[in-house]
Assembly symmetry: C2
Homo-oligomer: 207 residues x 2
Amino acid sequence: MEQRLAPNTKLSEARLCETFGVGRMRVRRALLLLSSQGIIELQSNRGAYVACPDKSEAHDVFAARMLIEPPLVRQLAQSSDEIDLTVLIDHIALENAARAQNERTEIIRLSGEFHTKLAQATGNKFIFRMMRELVTRTSLIVGLFGSSENASCPDDEHSNILKAIVSHSPELAEQLLISHLNHIQSGLDMEARQEPQDDLAAILGSD
Amino acid sequence: MEQRLAPNTKLSEARLCETFGVGRMRVRRALLLLSSQGIIELQSNRGAYVACPDKSEAHDVFAARMLIEPPLVRQLAQSSDEIDLTVLIDHIALENAARAQNERTEIIRLSGEFHTKLAQATGNKFIFRMMRELVTRTSLIVGLFGSSENASCPDDEHSNILKAIVSHSPELAEQLLISHLNHIQSGLDMEARQEPQDDLAAILGSD
DNA sequence: CAGATGACGATTGTTAACAATCTTTGTCAA
DNA sequence: TTGACAAAGATTGTTAACAATCGTCATCTG
């Protein structure tokens, strides 16, 4: 969930085994699950490779989010009384703290997590799972195509969206989120893809 | 994809092995994938059981579909020129044929597939995968809570939705789909759950 | 007789050796 | 030098035996 592995990196079973100190069975099981989530790609008899989304896939991810998230925040804004949003308020604080200290990695992670928690706030397991998958993929894409500076979400758009939700302004919340997604997408440079550096442990936390 | 297994049925590895004539590895891999899709539930050291959605899960599934599908068909209706809808037209024909011959199993299967193909028509891999998962879960639920007669989708609502799409009527298409989902949901009897009969091969087609 | 206890059988989880496939490297010939 | 070909090495896929866990049933005790 942390985006720290160069796309197309080969994940050899043997290496993963000794890295995590587990048997090959566990590794293979984890790889299968990751591939079912589209995070890695399993090539028969050739090994596992970190997914490398292309331009078209990036477009699809944002199209899917543009389809789901606006109605989602609209719904949240309509029924935000029965819903616990303290988690999100705390989350905004975390984001600000990370931004204050300029911890780029943490900022990116938290930026994605905001949207995931937004979905989680609906209390709907399926909506949550769908958004988590889309956010994960978005992180991959931002890591690939994002320019170094504004790779994270623009400063306090999250805060504004949350404010619109708690103040029961569905239209405003929806509009802010649409703008937000557009900002993220337009912050990408679809041509020159840059390689992030390695760091195994992060993405494979789920043994 | 066929809903032919009583929920809570235990899927023993040994039995699956000899049923499909494959090694235990293949079976375990398939079970893991099915569990990641929420179709079965893996209990540690206790085996795999067909998922048994409860009232609350059923509610969540329909809420999720209600969130996604209306914007989806609206979008399809707006941009249906650049999109190939012949698959869906053919599909309607298949549905009618099955309905004419009163093949209940086939009707249910095709009814779900209509919605999946609707998502596929967007050409968006992620939207397709999300809808397929939701439709699969819906099939489980309809099989559990659906009364025997109207378990399938009402007669030609699919046809009307498709017509609205091809005639570029986003609002109409959206409204028809909402009604359609409501019809399905209100056709469920959330109290008395009835047991479908067994039939292994269907759901596990993906070895 | 009710409940607890322990052994047995069945099922799942794991490991390690084996087989199959792919990649690389080295050799040879054009 | 370049290309094809073949052998060696490395990696993945599979199988089968072993270990661990769970459920059941019989037995024992209060």
